[in-house]
């Protein structure tokens, strides 16, 4: 990677071999080709054959064990007094973030979740015992248990990467809303895209970027997103962090509570006697 590609002092320290996605909500036309290409390549079954959800055109609802790309549709009524559209309809294709420090990986007791040579986070199906610890660990709700009881999520098409092909979703995207590449380069173009959109008065932000919101101890995402509204609008946490980082604080709080309760109990017993 040429140094000239990154001209930001606070650039995240992505690993140089890291590849990932830049998914741009402002270019998404909601065609769901990414969802279908993903299911077809990875031979995932259809998992929602009805009824319709009634949630705009979103019948996928969320990422799941058998749904590794999910296009969200956010339909809202805007200021009706303005000339122009009374509604906005935002679309974004969500995916596993392939975190720089992945909570699922830290939580996995069997070592089934590994970091690949592409810096993607991969669940080895033959190792996973289905304990499900990764599920609450993920701040984005990505991995889920399949019907067969194994944790599953986006592999970033590991088999395609090994064969020198880009992931199926990026290949299928007609408007380059999903771009695949080296994360350092994607990050640079993401930052440039934000600047360009802001010039056009779009409320744009780069999700997963340390400078613009941050990802706490996760340390960055290998799947970045260009958003044209607040992350919560797209059902993304505004300030994701490693849940493990809360453990010391939680442990201390629990210990403090236990001490207080013990003291209260002792005091009560002393009063009785």
């Amino acid at each position: 990677m040429a140094d000239s590609a990154i001209a930001f002092s606070a650039k995240p320290n992505f690993r140089s071999e890291a590849v990932g996605f830049l998914t741009d909500a402002t270019l998404c036309i909601g065609c769901k080709a990414c969802e279908v290409a993903c299911k077809q390549w990875n031979d995932l079954p259809a998992d929602n054959l009805g009824p319709m959800t009634g949630m705009s055109y979103d019948n996928t609802i969320a990422l799941g064990a058998e749904t590794w790309r999910h296009v969200a549709f956010i339909e809202r009524t805007a200021d009706e007094s303005a000339i122009g559209s009374p509604v906005t309809w935002l679309m974004l294709s969500d995916v596993c973030k392939h975190c720089v420090n992945a909570a699922c990986m830290e939580a996995c007791p069997t070592g089934a979740i590994i970091r690949t040579e592409f810096d993607s986070v991969y669940i080895q199906p033959d190792i996973c015992n289905g304990c499900g610890y990764c599920i609450p660990a993920c701040p984005f709700g990505v991995p889920q248990l399949s019907a067969a009881g194994a944790a599953q999520k986006c592999t970033m098409c590991y088999d395609r990467l090994r064969g020198g092909l880009e992931p199926a979703c990026a290949k299928a995207c007609p408007t380059e809303s999903i771009r695949f590449g080296f994360v350092e380069e994607l990050y640079a173009s993401g930052v440039a895209r934000i600047a360009q959109l802001r010039e056009r008065d779009v409320d744009a932000r780069l999700y997963g970027d340390r400078m613009l919101g941050g990802t706490g101890a996760i340390g960055g995402l290998n799947a970045l997103f260009v958003l044209n509204d607040a992350p919560e609008t797209f059902n993304l946490p505004a300030a994701p962090d490693l849940p493990q980082r809360i453990v010391p604080r939680a442990f201390a709080a629990t210990a403090a509570a236990a001490l207080v309760l013990c003291a209260a109990a002792i005091a009560a017993m002393q009063e009785r006697s």
């Binding site: 036309i29 065609c31 259809a46 009805g50 319709m52 705009s56 122009g84 009374p86 309809w89």
Partner: protein, 847 residues
Amino acid sequence: MPGLGSRLGRGGATTFLQDLANSDCIVIMGANMAENHPVGFRFVVQAQERGATVIHVDPRFTRTSALADQHVPLRAGSDMVFLGALIRHVIEGGHYNGEYVRHYTNASALVGDAFRDVEELGGLFSGYVARERRYDPASWAITATPGGQPSKDERGAASDPTLQHPRCVFQVLRRHFARYTPEMVADVCGVEPERFAAVADAIVRNSTPDRTTAFAYAMAWTQHTTGTQMISCCAILQLLLGNVGRPGGGVMALRGHATIQGSTDIPTLFDLLPGYLPMPTTERAHGNLAAYLDDITVDTCGWADAPAYTISLLKAYYGDAAHPANDFGYGYLPQIGGDYSFQQMLIMMRERVIRGLLCMGQNPAVGGQNARLGRRALGQLDWLVLRDAFEIESASFWKDSPEVLAGEIRPEEIGTEVFLMPAALTPEKEGSYTNTQRLMQWHDKAVEPPGDARSEAWFVHRLAQRLRELYADDASPAAAQLRALTWEYPTNAAGDPDLATILTEINGYRVADRSPVSGFDQLRADGSTACGCWIYAGVAPQPGRNRARERDPSGPAALGWGFSWPANRRMLYNRASARPDGSPWSERKAWVWWDDAAGRWVGHDVPDFPVTKPPSYEPPPGARGLAALPGDAPFLMIADGLGQLYVQSALRDGPLPTHYEPWESPVGNHLYPAQPRNPAAIPLEHPENPLQSPQDPAYPHVITTYRLTEHHTGGGMSRYVPWLAELQPEGFAEIDPALAAALSLATGDWVAIVTARGEIRTRALVTARLEPLTVDGRTVHQIGMPWHFGYGGIATGASANDLTALVEDPNSRIHEGKSFACAVRKVLAPGPGAPDRWARDGERGDG
């Protein structure tokens, strides 16, 4: 495609999808491009990224609107008023390209004294024959030539280059649209004047020598009783603005699905032969070849060579059996004597005039208009051969249609013998697509089809062989035609006929040595050449070369990628990308220009013009063909080489586009109250095709039907596929929040939608993406319903086409699925015959 054909000369998109990226303003109207042409939409996105303004004019806020800079909701069926008002704005504001209009259009031609406009006759043009619901176009002629007779070729007609004469086309056009004001747009379309002004300004600002505006349309213009004129109205506007034939300009006709362009080029249409040669008909003097050729040949343009194209086609059909002594087998061709459009076929099947049907790649039980009648028609057949990948509704209608489930029809009463033949899908066979931009692209076979599935070529090849054997000893004329056919295709190991041989036949070859021609200029009218479709000449110019299979993306026009008819020209009429003197309109918009030193037209594209004809060329007296057109006449397939702001006789419902309401509309015709409907539209009369009266109070709402990204047409290739079915698993109707509130409707509730054809029940999807419009002082609600759904497959739902009517545009014979009138009420259950398996099986909880 008579809308573009009559005004510009060819029934195809004037430009190519990649060129949309060169636009400064793209108006998408009558189309939902992001949803239905998502791959082509990438070029709209590219244009937008380069700073272009994207405008979507549509009744519904769709995924296209979501990406557009402006969305303008208008009442379905009112597009002509919007377009007419743009024309008025351009003329009255002086925003037209005067040099382009004077040189490249027929604006200066004088219309004859006998012509009367709709403005004078209350909504009718002169020449209306009320008893037959048709026009006699004699009075529409451009003024007589000095010889006294209306000239067949229009050359030598009187004209006024100052455009001031009251009878010149420009002034006729100006008067015709004088009442199409922004206020009229507000009254008829429900579009506020500010929104209209914003669109008009953007178009005018981006239609200059240095900037261009493109229009993209699709089925939402085609499927009206005035659809052809809507498209032709857009062509007039683009001619006035000087946008046709220029990069980033033009009219992008987006086709309904893959290779629909190909299926009009080598047509599945009843009234055309390959290459847009008219089908011989008993309604004109087509009794023998000479009479037919005399009728279709136009001496002073590209159609001067119609005899070469026709006789080469007959040689391709009949080989040695076609020779001068027997009119080259012209007599073998059937002659049509009326309307055999798809809609008419349904009626003829219903009445047992047609007894058997070969149904390939179509699902009329869902996708046909008045599908309820259509299913009954299928049930009247003796036999039905249906080729598809699944047992679609048109194959299973006899056991699971709503009529059968509701007990109205019992399967044992249906005598139709159904033969379901498994069909190979695209990757399972070799072949070609001709897409929306006239681009033929070859695809190889990737995998073997499963089981007994076979390609269409395999099936048709065997069918032809069997028929020829069956009729070998028959004495009927039909049998003689079958015997005369050349049918000598080698087959490969799988039994498929050799497609290279067929492509060479389409391309054309010299009969003597079977050597392929490299262009249609080499076709001859003496029987020495054979050609299956003259516009494709050049696709296979040498043995072993298939240009449709080539993939070189380099260059602004990507001339090495596939083959674009005619002659690999990517942008039609590209002579107009240069000024009359041959220089580019601007450096930024240079495409094809005259190189004086080289003495030829050069540029980024194959010139759509005789390549060495200088801009100053004046035809000598008596010149024929392209030599008869001057050096500044870009529209080669029209007799005067000019864009037709005014059409003399090529359109059946008038020389100029006029607003009429849809056949069934809750609103009267504000412009011509005495003529609510297109006076030349064709309603199909049948007891099972009842039609509503104009402004019938029983049907107060506008309804429009459409498609979703997630499904394909009648659903045969999507609703049966789990990965696609799950994306939109159930049918629905979109309803605006105000109407929903009035009906106490929430998303997921059942609604009954009613027209004169009957009632269907489906789920409501309440959305602010539809908004009530104020039209003519009252509120009009618009219902939107995807027409993909049916009772078969995984994703099911009531069929919107159970509501549509058999009523046709007089030019294209296409139905009116984009705007009609309905009633809506809330119901508690899907009712008997419901195709919705969730309701039927009681599986669904309320979501």
